[in-house]
Amino acid sequence: MKRTTALSLLLALLFMPAPEARAQSRSETLLVVVELGPNSMDIHGVGANRPAYQSSWNLYDRLITYGVKTLPDGTRMYDYSVLKPELAESWQIAPDGMSATFKLRKDAKFHDGTPVTAKDVKWSFDRAVTVGGFPTFQMKAGSLEKPEQFGVVDDYTFRVAFLRKDKLTMPDLAVPVPVIMNSELARKHATSADPWAMEWVKNNDTGGGAYKLESWKPGQESIYVRFDEWKSGPLPKLKRVIVREVPSAGNRRALLERGDADISFDLPPKDFSEIAAAGKLAVVAHPVENAHAYVGMNVKNPPFNNLKVRQAVAYAIPYEKIFHSVMFDRGALLMGNPIATNTFGYDAKLSPYKTDMAKAKALMADAGVPNGFETQLYFDQGFATINEPAAVLVQESLGQIGIKTTINKIPGANWRNLMLKKEMPIYVNAFGGWLNYPEYFFFWNYHGQNAVFNTMSYQNPDMDKLIDAARFETDPKKYADLVRGFTKLAIAEVPRVPLYQPNLDVAMQKGITGYQYWFHRQLDFRQLSKS
């Protein structure tokens, strides 16, 4: 019948091989496939998500940045101990150590051609500390709190006054938040209700960074093109970068393996271990600094307010089983040690915990609950690929010492809610800090100020004393003792049981070189090249 011939013609047409894609533009364009794309181009925007940091990092300049160091295995990473110039050519710390003066580059321009001056830096920093939410919080972490601290000496000289001698202030100027915005362009779109032009900057590029924003279709893709007049560093090699959102992890892997995508960094650990083993693609692995996945317990309410019960849990956790069959060894095993392997103060011998069911049962008896109890085990559905199997393994092993748990898979929005309420008895979660200092990690996770990340609502004045001292201790020996002090206390009190340090794995075609690991765990396009 004629209808079947029409159908077969259509099918043949569909499945003929594609026309040879424009090879020339392919070699200068990088295709990144991600699970979730940016929801804003403005790092100061309300609710800007992590992919938004990547856009801002590449679209904007900062005053200074970190150096680079090459690891024994040949991979490169940022060096948090070395600060290098970016927009600022040079800077001096005042003799009294209470301020820093930056000399700006004279030839730097914004994407729309207007020259970059100190007043842009002033406007941008004032914006960061007053707009509230996460950016203001991050600036405060480096004692950058008030607009009065920022002064314009002349068009190309900018001064920052310190509130206190905080060794985090200078490094905090190199994190994604303190960007330099084209204040003239932004102010044109500001209104009385929106003085900082949040609405406009969210969707537009007021930067002067190495890449300009070519187009952005939220929820689909964002395309960046090289800013050829960029002066704040060596001109990047890639002309164009496309970040395309592909929700299904399976498809992302298929795209990589068939060579249609160049780079991806949010695949499940199992895929990374198999891709690495296959060797067709290059996989760069790097344990995430100052981070760990943990089983947290609420120390305020029974049953986990009882230290013996917490220790029993610490001995019942199947560390190796989780690390192998959930993470496929992609990371570093911590077995109860709160400090990450590549963070100052790490000492494997400090933590006594390992999987020892007999000891765990004994501790349960000592705790006065030999036949255990019922409770609820929670995890964030957003990270279900890893947390769900881990929760199931934890549930099974805790069951063997009498702790019967039902698992609750909580959608993203509700997870933040429960974390704020701090009512979850026991849960699987993870945290990573940007600034690679142990006291910065403890300040967020163990300090009595009970920040949202102190999910266990653990408050112990001794712990607070140790952390606060360490934050402002300049003598290296005393600093080391303080760090050892609060680490041992955290292990003894075990409000949470650190499991492992996850990897930031990045899979890329063999032709991609120059990848560098950054603390914000996003891609820096500026060092990448594609042969």
Binding site: G250, R253, K270, S325, V326, L393, I407
Partner: protein
């Protein structure tokens, strides 16, 4: 009774596909009832040493990421999946036909009111409504059943209403009314039984659809609570392993799901042939 049996045998005989579907249905019911007793392993016991093994003599369907035996999980899941779909469809059938029949029989503003409510449910994108309900009330099995039931109510209500509207003026209804039966008795005794045949077909088609709906919810993370074995969740988990080559994790639960839905749909067709007077030449 013998006439029905002979009639039944004729339809099954003449139409092997319906026969096959009926056999499948019996198998499913047996698995649901005796499943947990028959399985070689504990469906919840993890064994990481044996993780991600392909089908072998020890594990006919292979093992999943935590080393749990897939055959046991697929078999044990039968009970849960059948319960979800049967309960959901029964609720939808009860509520739907009650609404449809009352609407059709009494007419007037009750009919219009019920009609508007049905329109609202029908206007909703069905799957999104289910997602909303489960997301709002939490993903317990009961909520999944209610969500699946609500979105199926309009099908039954519409069917019941049209059947009743057609027969409302029929002679025997007038006679029953004259004999002093009040409204509800007429509805229950006379009108409702007539709606049953087309309803049977809708029920069987719906059963299949209800299971698929539960699977869809699992795929977006709103399915049954882990670690309970349920086909939808296992297919959703398996989906992530297709590209990496562990095809069996998703395939076997998918096959079980397909067989169940397949069986219900074919039963639906078979029932229609059984009931459709025209086919009874």
């Amino acid at each position: 009774m013998t006439a029905l049996l002979r009639h039944g045998r004729y339809v099954l005989g003449e139409n092997p596909v319906t026969g096959l579907a009926f056999a499948l249905f019996v198998l499913l019911v047996v698995l649901a009832a005796a499943g947990p007793g028959l399985v070689p392993y504990d469906p919840l016991a993890s064994n990481t040493a044996e993780a991600l093994k392909p089908p072998s003599r020890a594990h006919w369907f292979g093992t999943d990421q935590l080393g749990r035996d897939l055959l046991s999980r697929v078999v044990v899941a039968t009970r849960l999946d059948l319960t979800i779909s049967i309960c959901a469809v029964m609720i939808a059938f009860a509520v739907g036909s009650a609404a449809g029949v009352t609407g059709g029989f009494y007419g007037g503003w009750t009919d219009r009111l019920i009609g508007r409510v049905l329109d609202t449910i029908m206007a909703f994108p069905l799957f999104v409504l289910a997602m909303g309900i489960v997301a709002a009330l939490g993903n317990t099995v009961a909520n999944i059943v209610y969500a699946t039931a609500i979105i199926n109510v309009p099908f039954y209500a519409r069917l019941a209403r049209s059947e009743v509207m057609v027969r409302r003026e029929a002679g025997f209804i007038e006679a029953a009314r004259l004999a002093g039966n009040r409204g509800p008795r007429i509805l229950a005794m006379h009108l409702f039984p007539n709606c049953l045949p087309p309803m049977m077909v809708q029920i069987s088609l719906n059963l299949g659809w209800a299971i698929l709906n539960a699977a869809g919810l699992s795929f977006i993370g709103l399915g049954v609570r882990p670690p309970t074995p349920e086909w939808g969740i296992m297919v959703a988990e398996g989906a992530a392993f297709i590209v990496s080559g562990e095809w069996w994790i998703g395939l076997f639960p998918g096959a079980a799901l397909m067989l169940a839905v397949f069986c219900f749909n074919l039963l639906g067709d078979g029932l229609r042939d059984l009931i459709d007077p025209r086919r009874r030449t």
